[in-house]
């Protein structure tokens, strides 16, 4: 499966490739053409390599959101050996934004929980482009607890802009559903592996994101807020999104350096959407290796292993004292106070 729709930063590369195709199909002369094409192809290849080695964080966000980027259902089809889908939260509705079911790769059985943003217009409509309602998170937790009862590892695929922002979602307790997932995932007595395959959007991603091992696709991103949201709240200008993407440190490379993820799952050159078969193969291998690795942790230590993993996150200063305040500062402080109401978000 190939996809050739371009992102803005890829345009020069695609234009070069198009020129090569053009030359091959239109030219009548054959003499010397072969050589010229070979040189141009080499040029294109090295341009592509360089482009993808020097992606800006914002480029990464664009790739993670690419319309043709493989979704959870693509990986279900191409990365797994078996999959038996299990629907519903047994309470309200079957939220199509989260797909759940029993799965296997080779000898490893697991419960797959995946956020699905949809492969076409109809699916995207059904799943609100991967933004779950509370019943989706409750469906996920219900299936995780089913897995726990049968001592089956859990694999979560994360791909969401965030939890769905709507009236019904709030009426049915979006915040409570997220919080309970986060808490209860930390307590599970089976191995949990999480992989961010596209967008890792804030609390909606974290609610499937408490694992013993965290994987992340090379060009996925994971952030406390979208770059657009950050730029518009902080700098009152959503167009500064590229800068926000940079400062938020949301790429797989940055997050691995800071210890938020354990391993990066490689993607084919140009991103998973260029060659979804090979992306599926990489993910399959990474999941299999991760399951084998996490199964080494004694069962009674799994929850504590997860606790320790998240317990250490946080950077701050200790042994600090309040500064002294003099009168001058006090009046400056009052001025600040008068305007601070407007500064709150």
């Amino acid at each position: 499966m190939q996809d050739n729709s371009t992102l803005p930063f890829e345009r020069p590369l695609f234009e070069l490739r198009a020129r090569i195709e053009d030359m091959l199909s239109n030219s009548e002369q054959t003499e010397g053409l072969e050589n010229q094409v070979r040189v141009m192809r080499q040029q294109a290849d090295s341009m592509e390599k360089e482009l993808y080695e020097n992606l800006s964080p914002w480029n990464t966000v664009q790739i993670a959101r690419h319309q043709s980027r493989p979704t959870t259902r693509d990986y279900i089809e191409h990365s797994l050996d078996r999959f038996e889908e299990l629907h519903g939260d047994r309470a309200f509705r079957d939220d199509m934004a989260i797909v759940t079911g029993l799965a296997s790769i080779e000898d490893e059985r697991f419960m797959l929980i995946g956020q699905h943003r949809g492969r076409n217009v109809e699916e995207r409509h059904q799943s609100h482009a991967g933004c779950s309602h509370p019943e989706g998170y409750r469906k996920a937790l219900l299936k995780m607890k089913l897995a726990e009862r049968f001592n089956i590892p859990i694999v979560c695929l994360i791909d969401t802009k965030g939890a769905y922002p709507g009236i019904g979602a709030e009426e049915r307790g979006q915040g409570i559903a997220l919080a309970e997932n986060i808490r209860d995932m930390s307590l599970l007595n089976v191995p949990v592996i999480c992989c961010i395959i596209g967008e890792g959007g804030s609390g909606g991603a974290l609610a499937l994101g408490i694992g013993n091992k965290i994987l992340m696709l090379q060009h996925a991103y994971y952030s406390v807020i979208t770059p657009e949201g950050c730029a518009s709240i902080l700098w009152r200008d959503g167009e500064l999104k590229a800068e926000a993407a940079e400062v938020l440190k949301l790429t797989s490379k940055d997050l691995k350096e800071r210890g938020f993820i354990d391993d990066i799952v490689p993607e084919p050159l140009g991103g998973a959407h260029r060659n979804s078969a090979s992306a599926a193969k990489f993910l399959r291998e990474s999941i299999l290796a991760a399951i084998k690795e996490v199964k080494q942790i004694p069962q009674e230590e799994l929850a504590q292993h997860r606790y320790d993993k998240y317990r250490k996150f946080g950077e701050f200063l200790s042994n600090q004292t309040l500064p002294d305040f003099d009168e001058e500062e006090k009046s400056a402080e009052e001025a600040l106070e008068a305007e601070s109401g407007a500064a709150q978000e």
Binding site: G175, R311, Q320
Partner: protein
């Protein structure tokens, strides 16, 4: 019961100066109610625990004031007051600097972080208590707030003390600390998981406003969840929802009364009754087993 800290009230809108001046003649400074817009003499508002006598709006009060309202006089011992946030990601662009913001907030609030935590007695019963201060960067959670909460929960677990946390945060997870902030949701929720398994009670008190990552982690995880009247609490802010779905939100959307009606709060308690109610709930939950004179 002694309390202090009313100077942190922030109810004045600039356009109301004139009206305020009029009312202030002879009766001292006045403030404007954020919800109903009524001008109230500050002293009267203070006497009413920061509750508007016209619309019953429970306005912001500082963390210190909250502790003084709930905890027996002279029994509060603060924990981890030495922790201070830092600008780990280098958020210093377009004239906005997180480091400077922190400095200003520390001066303004006379606190190093947005949370006050420690132990004390509530009507003679020892408790662990934490309060987020909505005046400190909107009471949002970065590494320090997450760490203080987690240490408090761990202390409560070790000593088997009931845990009470009063949340007030319009901000949720603090974006200036990126994924460090998001992971505080994981850290604090996991700590509450341990408390839950050990049977140590946790009461969450939700005040105006408790949003985003705070509501979607510790605030929504109480064994008992109490709301102050009219408190605004939810995951997504109303403005974002409104722009997404392009329709008006129902009256009272995401307020305590709405949450109670939709089964998300256990009860709504007036500020002046909170201390008695907490004591009564703990008595009924635990019996006399952990009560000491």
């Amino acid at each position: 019961m002694a309390f202090f800290g009313w100077d942190k009230l922030k109810l004045i809108g600039k356009s109301d100066k004139q009206q305020i001046n009029k009312k202030e003649e002879g009766s001292g400074p006045a403030v404007k109610c954020k919800r109903c817009g009524e001008i109230i003499i500050k002293k009267m508002l203070e006497g009413n625990l920061g509750v508007c006598s016209h619309c019953n709006y429970h306005s912001h009060i500082s963390a210190k004031t909250r502790i003084n309202l709930l905890i027996d006089e002279g029994t509060f011992v603060e924990h981890d007051s030495d922790l201070r946030s830092l600008d780990i990601l280098g958020f210093e662009r377009h004239g906005k600097s997180y480091s400077k913001k922190l400095e200003q907030e520390i001066k303004k609030n006379r606190m190093l972080s947005a949370m006050l935590s420690g132990v004390g007695k509530l009507k003679e019963r020892p408790v662990a208590i934490g309060v987020t201060d909505p005046n400190f960067i909107a009471g949002s959670m970065g590494s320090v707030v997450g760490e203080k909460f987690t240490r408090l929960a761990e202390h409560a677990l070790e000593k088997r003390l009931p845990l009470i946390v009063v949340s007030g945060s319009g901000g949720g997870a603090r974006m200036h600390e990126g994924l460090y902030s998001l992971m505080q949701m994981a850290k604090t929720s996991a700590a509450l998981g341990k408390l839950r398994e050990a049977g140590v009670p946790y009461i969450s008190v939700v005040t105006d406003s408790t949003m985003g990552g705070i509501w979607a982690s510790w605030a929504a995880l109480g064994d008992v969840i109490i709301g102050e009247p009219g408190a605004h609490a939810g995951f997504t802010g109303p403005r974002v929802i409104k722009t997404t779905i392009n329709q008006d939100l129902p009256e009272g959307f995401q307020r305590s009364e709405f949450l109670l009606e939709h089964g998300q709060l256990d009860l709504i308690v007036e500020r002046c009754e909170m201390r008695d109610k907490l004591a009564s709930l703990l008595d009924l939950l635990l019996g006399d087993t952990t009560k000491t004179a």
